[in-house]
């Protein structure tokens, strides 16, 4: 009987195993091996990693991606932090409507989002014209096709995701804590500084790591906005592997491995933080 069950289990898992090995495990192993090959592909070397990290052309792409991810995540998380607190102060019915609305807009990303921003803030965009008419030149230094533009677009897709992830943690702060704190004479600021913030801090860090990873891996938005001319890690990888100008496929693998490691690091950080949140709230 036991034997039969085992046989059946193996049979049932077979299709899944074949697909996962063929399209996940094997390709990842192949890519890692590939990242240690030299340009001719006939010897193992660490040179690709040295090039990726020290050649300014490639390391700049990495730094650009890191910076843009950090900035957009910081701005996005600040907006989300304030907004999700405001949401918790609304009646329950209104709360669920707002959360639904925010989730719906989170589908508006990638190419459609880049396109919408071109309509709004591009060279002949709605706001660009409006501000010109009004004679405001604070925005004359803003250019959608530059860093500030890219950050503005990235922030847009970070906000709904941040709200989605942060909103549930506020429910961990119980009303009774606030009441007891104010009975003991704590001001609103003192409450948040000594009680509220420490309680939600792990989920802020966790959410930050998700937003960071989200921006780090983003490709379509930047690609639709300026094509391959931005120096971002994802765009560099894509052009190294499939591009027509310079084709150094092994270096592409190396940079893909580095990016993959960064993402896995961010996800592990999130998981650790979330475990802490769950323990604290118990």
């Amino acid at each position: 009987m036991k034997q039969k069950i085992r046989l059946f289990a193996i049979f049932a898992l077979l299709p899944f195993a074949v697909l996962v090995i063929a399209f996940e495990i094997l390709p990842l192993i192949r890519m890692i091996i590939d990242s240690f090959l030299n340009d001719e592909g006939n010897a193992y070397t660490l040179n690709q990693y040295i090039t990726a990290l020290s050649n300014p052309y490639y390391s700049k792409g990495m730094i650009n991606s890191l910076l843009i991810s950090i900035y957009s995540s910081l701005i996005g998380i600040s907006i989300a932090l304030v907004t999700s607190y405001s949401i918790t102060q609304m009646p329950k019915k209104v709360q669920s409507i707002i959360i639904t609305f925010s989730n719906m807009t989170s589908n508006f990303s990638g190419i459609p989002l880049a396109f919408a921003y071109i309509i709004l803030l591009g060279t002949s965009g709605l706001f660009t014209l409006l501000f010109k008419e009004l004679g405001w030149d604070i925005f004359s230094s803003f250019n959608l096709y530059s860093w500030s533009g890219l950050i503005a677009v990235y922030v847009y897709f970070q906000v709904p995701l941040g709200i989605l992830l942060l909103y549930p943690t506020y429910s961990g702060i119980q009303k009774s804590w606030r009441e007891s704190a104010s009975l003991l004479g704590a001001s609103s600021f003192q409450f948040w500084w000594h009680i509220g913030l420490p309680v939600i801090f792990p989920s802020i860090v966790g959410t930050f790591s998700i937003l960071f990873a989200n921006a780090m891996g983003a490709y379509a938005t930047a690609y639709a906005l300026v094509g391959g001319s931005y120096n971002l890690i994802t765009i560099r990888i894509a052009s190294l592997v499939g591009g027509d100008v310079i084709n150094r496929p092994h270096l592409g693998s190396t940079m893909a491995v580095i990016l993959g490691l960064m993402m896995i690091g961010a996800m592990l950080l999130n998981e650790r933080m979330m475990r802490r949140v769950r323990r604290d709230l118990k």
């Binding site: 899944f16 697909l19 890519m31 508006f108 190419i111 459609p112 309509i119 780090m216 891996g217």
Partner: protein, 268 residues
């Protein structure tokens, strides 16, 4: 009361901020001409008419639907059985299994595409540039969402005890699974399938890097027409967004029905 106003204002502002790009795109898609003026100078539906009579658009839509349905179908067929067997009969493998199915969540599209191109553009199996490699990539891409949905459903219905009960009453394992467990987890599978479907429908990087223009999906079509005519492109964007909205609305309805059902069962 004053505090409430501030919170209300914050939400209103963020709501407008989030709505603005969608609204502007919509307005653009129904305007005749819109250059050098703040508001469009005339309204028309001709861009939509042009879009829906464009055979290239219809073909791209069809291709997108086709690869999404194939990969999703493959996922449902294999994942339901796999998650069921692992959680009930091979709990020792659960952690290892979890690591494998959650890994794609951390791997960005660009990296996955590189790995797949490396493996399948030379060697014994060459399927790079064909639709099969995209289907494989999509299958992996939605693993985390399918897994979570199916596992949560199995947990809420307490599949282990259901199976035991059915077997005590004389059902074979396969019968118990098909007639007792499966009908109970179908709503959960529906929700995660819709989520996976909308993710795949909006996917660009994998499709573009793996097959590109040879197999034009809706997103690749949008990208290639972006430079041509703004009004026309906004009609594509809005059509795409409406499809996604319908999918998420269905998901929401199914999800709340599921929750209500669970609540009722807990009460009774």
């Amino acid at each position: 009361m004053k505090k409430r106003m501030i919170h209300f204002l914050v939400i209103l502002m963020i709501g407008l901020y989030l709505l603005l790009p969608v609204a502007a795109t919509f307005l653009y898609s129904i305007s005749k001409m819109w250059s050098n003026t703040i508001l469009p100078s005339g309204y028309t539906f001709s861009w939509y008419q042009e879009l829906f009579t464009d055979p290239r658009f219809i073909a791209a839509l069809g291709r997108s639907l086709w690869i999404c349905i194939i990969s999703l179908g493959l996922s449902i067929l294999t994942m339901v059985v796999t998650v069921f067997v692992i959680t009930l009969y091979l709990p020792k493998l659960e952690r290892f299994f979890q690591a494998i199915v959650m890994l794609p969540y951390a791997i960005p599209g660009v990296v996955a595409a590189v790995a797949l191109i490396k493996t399948y553009s030379s060697g014994p199996i060459v399927i790079s540039g064909t639709v099969w490699i995209v289907i494989g990539a999509y299958y992996i891409h939605i693993l985390p969402y399918m897994y979570q949905g199916i596992r949560n459903s199995l947990r809420t219905i307490d599949a282990k005890r259901l199976m035991e009960a059915a077997e005590v009453l004389g059902a074979s394992k396969i019968n118990a699974f098909v007639h007792v467990v499966l009908p109970n987890i179908i709503p959960g599978i529906q929700v995660s399938s819709l989520l996976s479907f909308s993710i795949l429908f909006g996917e660009f990087v994998l499709a573009n890097m793996l097959v590109g223009g040879q197999y034009e999906t809706i997103q690749i079509y949008l990208m290639s027409r972006l430079q041509e005519n703004g009004h026309f492109s906004s009609a594509i964007v809005i059509t795409y967004f409406v499809i996604i909205l319908i999918l998420s609305w269905m998901m929401l309805k199914l999800g709340t029905r599921l929750q209500n059902k669970e609540r009722k069962e807990q009460v009774s």
